[in-house]
Subunit: 159 residues, 2 copies
Amino acid sequence: MRMGEGVEWGLHCCLALAWLEDEAPIPTGRLAALFNLPPVYLKKRLQDLVRAGILASVPGVKGGFRLARAPERITLLDVVTAIEGRDEAFRCNEIRQRGAGAEEPEGTFAKPCGVVIAMRRAELAWRRELAAQTLADLMREAAPSAPGRTRRYYARLTG
Amino acid sequence: MRMGEGVEWGLHCCLALAWLEDEAPIPTGRLAALFNLPPVYLKKRLQDLVRAGILASVPGVKGGFRLARAPERITLLDVVTAIEGRDEAFRCNEIRQRGAGAEEPEGTFAKPCGVVIAMRRAELAWRRELAAQTLADLMREAAPSAPGRTRRYYARLTG
């Protein structure tokens, strides 16, 4: 089970956009250069975040991306869901109703299956924990030098 | 992010092996027929469970698989880890140290990154919940008809 690297990209870009608020909107190319990411693929992930209402996209030559809402109102779950989708990691194929149980009449099996309930309980705990953490928390827990460092790196790219 | 279907296979096979304790060892072909699964792929997953000490493999013509320990001592986390491995779903590529930050001296960045800490916290909640649920819990929460049904299906395959 592996999460796409887009989640790391998305979270770090949100952090950078929070710290570079005064420079917004920031074009994809510069965000990509900040982290040495492939601009075309990064843009797809940024657009996922726009669709989810996490980022706003400003069109035009001086356009780019900025946070669409306050860091307190962006949870890690928002970012993960925007990029990875809402599907559960564990998907049930109802194998218990196949094979030897296939010819049973409808209603033979409790719905939903206990295995699914148990696996879903664990995924809910994961989502709950992601929902309890915001971009503002990440900013608060970052090293005190992190915002200034991000601004210094950005200045190099633009200067 | 998606978990392999092997986890569903593994959990249902463990449940079936618990209910078919008196018939053990049970050959791969019959477990596969019980759920209409591809025997060759199922065998690989069963061997994962043997390596993890969850199942025992009995060699020979009358051989097959049985639970290696009591259902109370098999957690969902044991089964998930045996089949999916121990790697975390979120993997950090340290993109913050690439791009504009690449030429910084060592030690510039707090280790580990706050994004990883936050994502790891959520995965720990998921693992903790999986570790808190055992095969015995699944058996207890199953429909009262489930054990008898499994034995009836199995009798059809052998009869």
